[in-house]
């Protein structure tokens, strides 16, 4: 599947929690209607201070490597979009035939604008990029809010991107995948494919010199994101304290990462990703 992440910084007229309401509320309501969308998830940075909020979370200090300063100033949340293809993604922002009206089913132009709230919801444009995904443990969601983590990792300058991906997927994530309580583990490598042009208006902040600098600065701090889903925070922290696993993980981390740091995110499943072939009727 084609998969894109879009990191966003809230409009400064909104608090973080107001931004949540507007993104998970109004904005997702339109985003989930994008034409041919196959999955849509919003991850909002948690209000919890991860290093102190949970029993055992002091272990975080030991497993963090070179966390960038003020990293959270650059984002409040990130969305995930799944489509069958790049072409479907680019054509998704068009009026949707999904509104009942006096003439039957009618087109709604507001879907092409994704609610037309971007300038009030965000500061500048999203940092949107295509990810090369490796599903290490397929995500299974129960009917409750899961504990979800995003681990940002950065490769050493002298390691090729292909080898970096191969080592993380093949060694590091394989080792992680045995952690008790894990309900999903997905590796996402950021790719250089341009998925901004054609999706955002040419006059968007993303295409200005300042916008490019802002985005590149953010990208310079990490190369990939490992997403974890657990029933409970204690599953992760007890797993990372387990001495049968952690010496090996620590060794890999010291070899593979020049930076590695964690954030808890609150996940809104706006459209459950459907990795099966599409059905021949409207389905979300």
């Amino acid at each position: 599947m084609f998969k894109a992440f879009g990191f966003v910084k809230r409009n400064l007229s909104l608090t973080h929690d107001e931004y949540r309401a507007a993104h998970a509320g109004y904005h997702n309501s339109f985003g989930r209607r994008l034409n041919n969308i196959r999955g849509y998830i919003l991850n909002v940075r948690s209000n919890h201070e991860l290093s102190s909020a949970y029993n055992g979370s002091s272990v975080l200090e030991k497993i963090t490597i070179a966390e960038p300063n003020n990293f959270d100033d650059a984002w409040d949340g990130y969305g995930q979009l799944n489509f069958d293809s790049y072409d479907d993604y680019i054509s998704a922002r068009s009026p949707s035939l999904d509104r009942a009206g006096k003439h039957g089913l009618e087109y709604d132009p507001m879907v092409a604008k994704v609610g037309n709230d971007l300038e009030y919801l965000y500061s500048g444009s999203p940092f949107q990029f295509c990810v090369d995904e490796a599903v290490q443990v397929p995500v299974i969601r129960p009917e409750k809010k899961l504990f979800k983590l995003a681990q940002f990792v950065k490769a050493p300058a002298n390691l090729s991107p292909i080898l970096f991906r191969s080592y993380i997927a093949g060694k590091y994530c394989s080792a992680l995948s045995v952690m008790p309580g894990l309900r999903g583990l997905v590796l996402n490598m950021r790719t250089p494919l341009d998925v901004m042009s054609g999706f955002f208006k040419p006059e968007s902040e993303a295409f200005t010199d300042e916008g490019i600098v802002r985005r590149e600065l953010f990208y310079s701090t990490w190369d990939g994101i490992i997403e974890y889903w657990f029933d409970d925070a204690s599953d992760f922290f007890s797993g990372r304290a387990d001495q049968s696993l952690n010496p090996y993980l620590a060794k890999l981390e010291s070899e593979l990462f020049t930076a590695s740091f964690f954030r808890e995110v609150d996940e809104t499943v706006a459209v459950v990703p459907n990795r099966n072939p599409p059905v021949d009727f409207y389905f979300r």
């Binding site: 309401a21 309501s29 509104r99 089913l105 709604d108 969601r141 009917e143 459907n274 389905f283 979300r284």
Partner: protein, 291 residues
């Protein structure tokens, strides 16, 4: 949790079944997923090919007195979850969810005014639509765990024999029938729902007293629909073959079929396409906006 099934027939003058899907899952849910206090929201639409056709001749052996034209009475049924009845009744008191030039605001364009075009209207004015909103008393037999793909969901509707006492029936269903059913191989989730006998329990305080639902005709039509069934199982499988293997060709088949005849005056199955609008969250609500 407070759980409601709302059986809805499309406006068949304006929409085909597949057009109804798009209108309901698309624009309508764009608004209804922002109902205040909603904790879970799923829309089930009957599958385009019936189970009798998918399963073949064996289907008639596992059903009892399926009401003729049952699926003509509805096209889809949302199931919504709230913390309690009070939250449900206040759900259309809309909260701020839209970023505007004035910060976080109540969305002035929020509307459910498509309902008359989307659902079966009471009359040509399209101001009201007919629905069967029914409060369900839920028992989770096997918790639902959803993978990242479309699952096969089958609803088993059942109506108890008149001669079985209501309380006895519940006890048997919970202690015996559901337990046996839960042994079906390939089952990924199983929920038992008893329909509240008061057909007004989901709509008192939600719809106006003067509306169609509480009119003589409305009450008659809703009573007729509710009288067809007393409860429903929601069953989740990977595919229809898994259901066939679990229900029809396994060693359980004989036991379940015998129990069906002992307990039910009617029982039948409908496959639905499940659209997860809001993943139900059965944990306490967090202290921030969450869907």
């Amino acid at each position: 949790m407070f759980k409601v099934f709302a059986f809805l027939k499309r406006n068949s003058e304006l929409l085909s079944h597949d057009e109804y899907r798009a209108g309901h899952i698309g624009f309508h849910c764009c608004n209804s997923r922002r109902l205040t206090g909603i904790r879970g929201y799923i829309v089930n639409v009957w599958a385009n090919e019936g189970l009798a056709s998918k399963i073949g001749p064996g289907y008639k052996d596992i059903i009892i007195n399926e009401p003729t034209g049952f699926n003509d009475l509805w096209d889809g049924f949302p199931q919504v979850y709230f913390d309690d009845a009070a939250s449900w009744k206040k759900a259309t008191t809309i909260e701020p969810t839209r970023a505007t030039e004035n910060g976080l605001s109540i969305d002035p364009d929020w509307t459910l005014s498509d309902s008359g075009f989307l659902f079966d209207p009471v009359d040509a004015s399209l101001k009201e639509f007919k629905s069967n909103h029914l409060k369900m008393d839920e028992e989770i037999i096997i918790p639902v765990n959803r993978p990242e793909r479309k699952v096969t969901k089958i609803i088993q509707f059942f109506k108890k024999h008149d001669f079985i006492d209501e309380l006895d029936f519940r006890n048997i269903m919970l202690s015996s029938y559901a337990k046996k059913l839960s042994n079906m191989e390939g089952l990924k989730g199983l929920t038992l729902n008893f329909r509240d006998h008061d057909i007004d329990s989901a709509i008192k305080g939600f719809y106006p007293d003067t509306g169609w639902h509480f009119s003589k005709q409305g009450n008659y039509e809703r009573s007729q629909f509710a009288s067809l069934w007393d409860g429903a199982f929601e069953m989740y499988f990977d595919n229809i073959d898994a259901f066939k293997a679990g229900r029809m060709t396994s060693s359980l088949n004989e036991t379940l079929t015998a129990l069906d005849r002992k307990l039910f005056s009617s029982a039948w199955y409908v496959e639905v396409d499940e659209n997860v609008i809001i993943m139900p969250n059965r944990d306490p609500a967090p202290d921030f906006y969450y869907r």
